[in-house]
Subunit: 475 residues, 2 copies
């Protein structure tokens, strides 16, 4: 199915044993999958099921179902597979004695860290720490990474209000905290942005503003939301009005920071709003946020759960901003296959032990895996690959959009690696049809088709994808 | 150090290669550990560090540090190691091809479950499901397991108020939910108990009432707390006044259920308050709670994060209650090495997909490990072992307490396996000194010494432990 005339014929495949293209044998789900889904439904939620998968048969960019179908996967477990299914280098790490011990001897890292925990961090998670953020607090998923960052922000802000790390809690604070009341449990907030997504636990969900179905019936904190820029695409053709829109959102943010009844200790923002429909903003907007947070002495948390680990053609998406003054905290998960938040300011370590603490505090097994992922990214130069493949993919999609202007609207993500999306007037139908042409692709927001291929996605895969989309549009 | 004259000399060791007793070579931390801790401190929180550990050198009930010291471990990673360090059966599971694939091909289980997920659940997590609770929602840690259970409770209650699963959300609900306001984000609550612990994320922390240091500076929901019984020990000598105390707490609970301004959708309770000081209540109390929740139509969530998986001499601690009508949800983590909540009522499945959802929704690698743990528990009959060892240990501690009445107060946990604790007037000193005699033991609440040995703890280990405690008391 590839179009060698278009992509670079000399391109070396990262994984020679990867399938050369999709293989479609049955409709999806096929008969074997249908039976397995009915079985699973008896014990587990299946209404959100997209495809039943045989991972042992999945390799590289290709995902295999139970009926012999093999699809090019540009969704990658909701953007969380970094270097391909059944990656041989990861397999080596996963079968190492260190990994086995990490799996069966899981430590309570805050109390009983393993002898090589510092080394695992330094040769892994911390080796790719964002500029200026040399410390990490480890977690297990994006939601709790964000919540831990919020807790760090609240403790930092209250410490500041209290007058420093050595000022003791008052008896009133101690008593009221146990009663879930102010001042011990302070009336403070995290400011987030409309259509943003930061997780689905109670604190993170209070900052998530993506879709009602995520929030309905769940009690939430009375925390504020500011407008996120609604930009016009392509960005370069609408620079002036986009700048006005961004200024409007910055003004709104400042107004909330100065007037909201429950004062924000921090703002949290995604470099690209990823669940909310792939909404972009320019570096100027993010620099403006940094300036506002400095001016009003609140923290800036950048949620790189979906954008981080190479997908935008930089290791961290916020590197695109070229910001002198780094964010205060950066959260990560998904492609890292572990989670946590990076920070730099030592004041973000709480003033006493056991304030930021839980039984496991992360997972050394997953930290070892992230280290192997980082090594693989470096070995194959995958951030660079993603930047280049992304440019190629964007150009091909731009051409396809010119041919099918009714199908591809507001194409976006230029210069952002393969983190590309467009609006589709019949999105859900497009996603469904793509499967019949051998492609697994996902959506975001109300009508965006979002591309989240792995970092091993090459030009030949881009060709297969674009050709399949054309068939979808023709059908 | 063992006292073969006291324990059953015929007792077969589960792991013949396990050390025969503690080996103390240096003070703790020794020189190598000190250096390693200073190194770790540069990149990770170490103020809560108890001991730096070499897990590859730790076997069975024994934990090894970096200086050649080997301690009998009755704390077990805050009650989370089930069947011993470096357990050979778990090692087999951890090095299986299924495990390797689960580690490197982590699925988004709600969208792309693996072909054998139903089987993994059925032969593992669900095989030990509490009576009446045949379904599971998987999670990653105790905190998020509890929060997911809370979300299920809120959705269930609102659905009931709305008039059933087919009644659609109103526009007002949809709009207000996005704004974190009622009715979409309802003014509802979870009732928890004083000195209870249910986790440290924002929702779970709002139900945690253990210690101020866990809660200070973190915004909390205005949710209610009822008194948990303060019983007198030994329970059998104070039956009448304990019954009055339990009734007082039940009355208080009922008052909150009927009058609190933010109506509870559920109560959550631990079978034994584990972080809060090992506070017990009788089956009558829990049956009373079940009756109240039925009467007032709220759910009963039992938090078995610390009590579950065999430690009390039953697989689930709530089995001790012999309750006809099971709890609505039971949460688990720690010794399961994975997490989630069990439920039975199909109405606790939300009425639409994507309401209870997140990227990973648990972890098949950890589910495979739990299955291996369950198999090991069955192979060695470890729940029975824990019941028997617990009785033996309790009897020996009772005798020790008679000899040292100033050291062992309110001994508790009789008939609850090895889930035993006592109050100590110089608790932190006792915990520290225990290390010099080769025992790693933890505390809970303000002054309790809590025993949380693994399920492979045998009478010979109990002897070593009791003898070491006597040396501590003598010193």
């Amino acid at each position: 199915m590839a179009s060698p005339s278009v992509s670079d014929a000399a391109e070396q495949p990262f994984f020679p044993d990867e399938p050369t293209g999709p293989i479609m044998r049955t409709e999806i789900p096929g008969p074997i999958s249908k039976k397995a889904i009915a079985h699973l439904d008896k014990v587990f939620e299946t209404r959100s099921l997209n495809m039943m998968v045989n991972y042992q048969n999945s390799f590289g960019n290709y995902i295999a179902d139970l009926d012999g179908n093999v699809l090019l996967d540009v969704y990658a477990q909701i953007a969380s597979i970094p270097v391909g299914y059944s990656n041989p280098s990861l397999l080596l790490a996963a079968t190492s004695p260190d990994m086995a011990s990490a799996i069966i001897n899981r430590p309570a890292l805050g109390n009983f860290p393993q002898h090589d925990w510092a080394e695992i961090l330094e040769t892994g998670i911390l080796r790719v720490a964002p500029k200026g953020l040399g410390q990490v607090f480890t977690a297990q998923a994006g939601s709790d990474a964000n919540e831990l960052a919020y807790k760090a922000a609240f403790m930092w802000k209250r410490r500041q209000q209290r007058g420093g790390p050595d000022v003791e809690f008052t008896q009133e604070e101690i008593t009221s905290a146990m009663d879930n009341k102010s001042p011990g449990a302070p009336n403070m907030s995290i400011l987030s942005f409309k259509t943003g997504f930061h997780g689905r636990l109670f604190g993170s969900l209070s900052t998530t503003r993506s879709k009602p179905i995520h929030k309905l019936d769940i009690p939430a904190f009375d925390w504020p939301q500011a407008s996120f820029p609604h930009l016009k695409y392509p960005l370069e053709e609408h620079a002036e009005e986009n700048a006005r829109e961004e200024q409007r959102c910055l003004d709104e943010t400042e107004k909330i920071l100065t007037t909201f009844h429950s004062p924000p200790a921090a703002i949290i923002v995604e470099p690209i709003q990823s669940e909310g429909g792939d909404n972009h903003a320019t570096p100027a907007f993010f620099k403006g946020l940094r300036a506002l947070t400095r001016k009003h002495d609140v923290l800036m948390i950048v949620d790189e759960v979906q954008t981080g680990v190479g997908a935008t053609g930089k290791f961290w998406a916020h590197e695109h901003w070229n910001m002198e003054d780094p964010p205060d905290m950066v959260t990560f998960s998904k492609k890292a296959q572990t989670a946590g938040y990076y920070f730099g300011n030592p004041d973000l370590r709480p003033n006493k032990p056991y304030r930021q603490f839980n039984t496991w505090m992360g997972d050394p097994a997953r930290a070892l895996l992230f280290r192997a992922i980082i090594n693989e990214i470096e070995r194959l130069n995958l951030v660079q690959n993603t930047a280049e493949t992304g440019d190629y993919l964007y150009t091909r999609l731009q051409a396809l959009g010119e041919k099918y202007p009714g199908e591809i609207q507001n194409l976006r993500g230029k210069g952002q690696g393969t983190f590309i999306a467009w609006d589709s007037p019949r999105r859900d139908e497009v996603l469904k049809k793509a499967k019949t042409f051998g492609v697994n692709v996902g959506g975001s927001g109300e009508r965006a088709v979002r591309l989240r291929p792995m970092l091993i996605f090459q030009k030949k895969h881009a060709d297969i994808f674009v050709d399949a989309m054309e068939k979808v549009f023709q059908s």
